[in-house]
């Protein structure tokens, strides 16, 4: 146990040291920029991100002094970003001091440093900040701008808008049609083209009709360049760019649309340390999680905003009852409805956010466990973690812990052999264990792979027959995947003797049962002598994800956007036939063309459908197919719900989402599409371990 703690701390320190390094570099840059008399917002954002990560890490590992330090720095820098503090020497010096303290803490002087951290904090308290603005006084009326655009501004955007107006930078309204299927890309492209001349303050998609493949996006930009120059850098077809004139008459009207800062209760900066909060998730094994006080403060703010809206609604109802003209009231009612919608969305987001934890922490703990296990057996194991910045709901972290623990034990215990044995087999003495996690849309997928012995299907089969777990008559008829599923049978192990850790035969069964119970699924691929790869997939449940909506016949399906590599334009002359299937040449090689209806086994009545104009390139790992559907509808953020246990054998879909239409939208599982579409021989044996 102590050993594991040590390992954890080591990981923590190395990661933290990296961040502190980066922070020092960025601060130096900031100082240079400040001397030149400019404010580089990108840099400040970067610094804030580092400080924030540091705070999260420190909080997680119980490094109190470090967490406080990071928090104090955050408190100092945030007003800078929002323009409530001007950048000057008195501001750039303290962060350097703070970073010096961090170095002190990292080199192990926790006790002595705590004192100096306290001193440092009192130093920071002396820096005066401008108060939070009481409703933005600068932002008045604009003619020709969608009021919704203004009402949706974040505090940061509001501040930037205010600054631009103050400095007399002309504002423009830009309307551009963007292709729905590649909206994010096109927006990025747009920003980049504008960047040398203009700042994009905010943007908002306009409502569209259902069948359109394009979306009109309205952007608010600020620029000192003439409109012709902007047009020239944009070079965007059908873009409409118009200068915005301020209109003081409309001041009051627009003013009411802006979020009213004065309706919020004052902040309480003193109480912002992480605190323990009751957590009532059913599946979770630990009933408490750490929630930052700031999150709770934000929730309190939101609830009071909600009750403000409620009062407003009650007053409107009263006015209606008193006989006021309903038409006059309808605008006010609409506004109230809109702010209600915004507040509820914000509330949902906050609540979900406060439940999220980085998955990296869990994987690091497990990696440390694997090392401990390996050491006890005199084996050498190198653990590789690929998880990125994935944050998942706390329930998922807890749900994954035990199954992953079991898989890692299996891998170390009887996957990876001793250094001597490995050398005899011509392998590197050090075994490799890879933990890889990703979130392709509606699922959290964690893969555990090793380059060890691998499970022999024949051995599994033999054991299963021996123990009477499989009917001998049926045994011969099992398909390859079914044979591999034998590994999940309770009481089946390929080890002759049960050893201390795994090998009791119940391991894989437990993994499978737990994962299925959570609406997920498990797949195992194993090659004797080369290794085993187990993939666990759990529905991400509380995490909304972006999906591409597809139409096939009368029905719509959703495909996680993370599994969509690109949308290809199809030209019939480019389609080639080979071995009875159709292929198309794409930028990354030839792709098989597959119709969704054949993958799903749906009968289409009558005529063969013509080739659609588009194909969706679906990617799963290194495998790609070009999927054919009737049409693309567009992108949406959706929240999918997993099916119940009774549908656990349905692998084509990870769940369904309710988009308020007549029927639910089924969410396609990319792995299934690719697996069903590719030829059998590729299905199992390609890249067990790449």
């Amino acid at each position: 146990m102590e050993q594991a703690d040590e390992e954890k701390n080591k990981n923590f320190f190395s990661e933290e040291a990296e961040i502190v390094e980066a922070l020092s570099r960025d601060l130096l840059l900031l100082e240079q920029v400040q001397e030149a008399g400019q404010l580089d917002l990108g840099l400040i954002n970067e610094i804030l991100r580092s400080v924030h990560t540091l705070k999260g890490l420190a909080g997680m590992f119980g490094q109190r002094a470090m967490a406080e330090l990071a928090h104090a720095l955050e408190d100092l820098l945030e007003p800078l970003r929002l323009g409530r503090l001007d950048l000057g020497p008195q501001i750039t010096a303290p962060p350097f001091e703070g970073v010096a303290r961090m170095h002190g803490l990292l080199s192990g002087g926790e006790e002595g440093e705590s004192m100096r951290v306290a001193e440092f904090k009192s130093l920071l308290r002396g820096i005066e900040r401008r108060p939070r603005p009481q409703a933005d006084p600068v932002v008045a009326g604009f003619r020709g701008v969608d009021p919704q655009l203004l009402s949706a501004l974040t505090e940061f955007e509001q501040h930037r808008l205010g600054t631009c107006i103050e400095q007399g930078i002309p504002l423009y309204r830009l309307r551009v049609p963007l292709l729905l299927a590649s909206l994010d890309h096109e927006l990025d492209d747009l920003r980049q083209r504008l960047q040398p001349l203009a700042e994009v303050l905010t943007y908002l998609p306009r409502p569209r009709r259902a069948e359109e493949e394009e979306l009109i996006v309205e952007l608010l930009i600020a620029s000192r360049s003439p409109i012709e120059a902007l047009h020239a850098v944009l070079a965007w077809p059908r873009a409409s760019l118009r200068a915005i004139e301020r209109d003081d008459d409309e001041e009051e009207r627009v003013h009411t649309l802006l979020p009213r800062a004065e309706s919020r209760p004052p902040r309480r900066p003193s109480s912002r340390l992480p605190t323990q909060v009751r957590h009532a998730a059913e599946e979770s094994e630990n009933a408490y999680i750490q929630v930052e006080m700031t999150q709770l403060d934000a929730l309190v703010d939101l609830t009071s905003e909600l009750s403000f809206t409620r009062t407003l609604l009650a007053r409107l109802a009263e006015r209606l009852r008193e006989g006021e003209d309903p038409r006059a009231l309808s605008t006010a009612l609409e506004h109230a409805g809109r702010s209600l919608e915004r507040q509820i969305t914000a509330l949902q987001e906050r609540v979900l956010q406060s439940r999220r934890l980085p998955l990296r922490t869990l994987l690091k703990e497990l990696a440390a466990d694997a090392q401990t296990l390996a050491k006890a057996q005199q084996k050498h194991v190198q653990v590789e973690i690929q998880v990125g910045e994935l944050v998942v709901d706390v329930a998922i972290v807890e749900a994954l812990r035990r199954p992953l623990m079991q898989l890692i034990r299996n891998a170390v215990d009887h996957g990876i052999a001793s250094p001597g044995e490995r050398r005899m087999q011509g392998k590197d003495a050090t075994g490799r264990l890879r933990l890889r996690a990703s979130q392709p849309g509606g699922e959290i997928v964690v893969e555990v792979s090793d380059d060890g012995a691998g499970d022999d299907e024949e051995t599994l089969m033999f054991r299963a027959l021996e123990k009477g777990l499989v009917d001998p008559a049926k045994g011969a008829m099992l398909e390859a995947q079914e044979r591999r599923e034998l590994a999940f049978l309770p009481g089946l192990s390929t080890r002759s003797e049960a050893d201390e850790l795994s090998g009791r035969g119940f391991g894989m069964d437990i993994v499978r049962t737990r994962v299925l119970a959570l609406g997920g699924h498990v797949e195992i691929a194993s090659t004797p002598g080369e290794g085993t790869r187990v993939v666990l997939a759990l529905p991400s449940r509380l995490t909304p994800f972006r999906a591409l909506l597809l139409r096939l016949g009368e029905r719509h399906y959703a495909l996680p956007i993370s599994a969509v590599e690109e949308v290809l334009r199809l030209r019939p002359q480019e389609v080639q036939r080979l071995q009875g299937s159709a292929w198309i040449q794409a930028s990354k090689g030839a792709l098989p063309l597959c119709r969704l209806e054949s993958i799903l086994g749906l009968e289409r009545e009558g005529e063969l459908h013509a080739l659609p104009p588009f194909a969706v390139v679906v990617r799963e790992g290194e495998r790609r197919i070009a999927l054919l559907v009737d049409s693309l509808i567009g992108q949406r953020d959706i929240m999918a719900k997993p099916f119940g246990k009774s549908l656990s054998e349905v692998r084509a879909f990870s769940g369904a989402a309710d988009l308020g239409e007549e029927s639910l939208i089924l969410v396609l599982r990319a792995s299934y599409l690719v697996e069903m579409a590719l030829p059998m021989q590729e299905r199992f044996h390609s890249e067990v371990l790449r």
Binding site: V470, L478, E482, L600, L602, G644, E649
Partner: protein, 192 residues
């Protein structure tokens, strides 16, 4: 929306019809109360305890690649409920759902599952009575069947037992279904 679809189950205080079923021979290891419902002109029953709610028929979303007796999924409040077509599950003739059709929501192993039935009749109490043989049905429907019962006139029921031959065979037979058996898919042992 969903609230309007739900129909409260009423328990008549004194039901003249009691349900007679064999096999429990005075021991009460079988549930006491049952809900009866119709399927293809026949009468079926299910233990009341597992029934969570009765919904009016509303269209479900069918799922390609799902087993044949799965009608689709339905969102009931926050849950995604799998709906089985009980006619298909019991190998009866199919029919298009209409206004009288109901979906019984039952709780089984922590999951709520919907069962489509033609119509819902009433709640009945199970009396202890001699057994009627169920073996031919069991070979056909397996674990899905708990037993067979018949409505009896309460006035003819004596304290201890009922002589089945004395009861007029004009009352319909009732097939009592096992929720557990119904949901356990009929598949080879390799699936655990």
């Amino acid at each position: 929306m969903n609230e309007r679809r739900s129909l409260p189950i009423l328990r008549p205080a004194s039901d003249p019809g009691a349900l007679a079923l064999g096999k429990n021979e005075g021991k009460s290891n079988l549930p006491q109360e049952y809900l009866t419902f119709g399927l293809a002109g026949e009468t079926y029953a299910m233990p009341l305890g597992v029934i969570v709610e009765v919904l009016r028929w509303s269209p479900v979303t069918s799922i390609p690649t799902a087993p044949a007796d799965v009608l689709g999924v339905l969102r009931v409040r926050t849950q995604m409920v799998t709906v089985l077509d009980l006619r298909r599950r019991l190998h009866l003739a199919e029919s298009a759902p209409g206004a009288a059709h109901r979906i019984l929501l039952i709780r089984q192993e922590g999951e709520i599952v919907g069962l489509l039935v033609d119509e819902v009749f009433r709640i009945c109490r199970l009396a202890s009575a001699p057994m009627e043989t169920t073996s031919p049905l069991r070979t056909f429907l397996g674990d899905a069947v708990l037993g067979v019962a018949r409505f009896v006139d309460r006035r003819k029921v004596t304290h201890e037992a009922v002589d089945m031959r004395q009861i007029a065979t004009t009352e319909p037979l009732v097939l009592i279904l096992s929720p557990q058996g119904l949901l356990r898919p009929a598949r080879p042992a390799s699936q655990g």
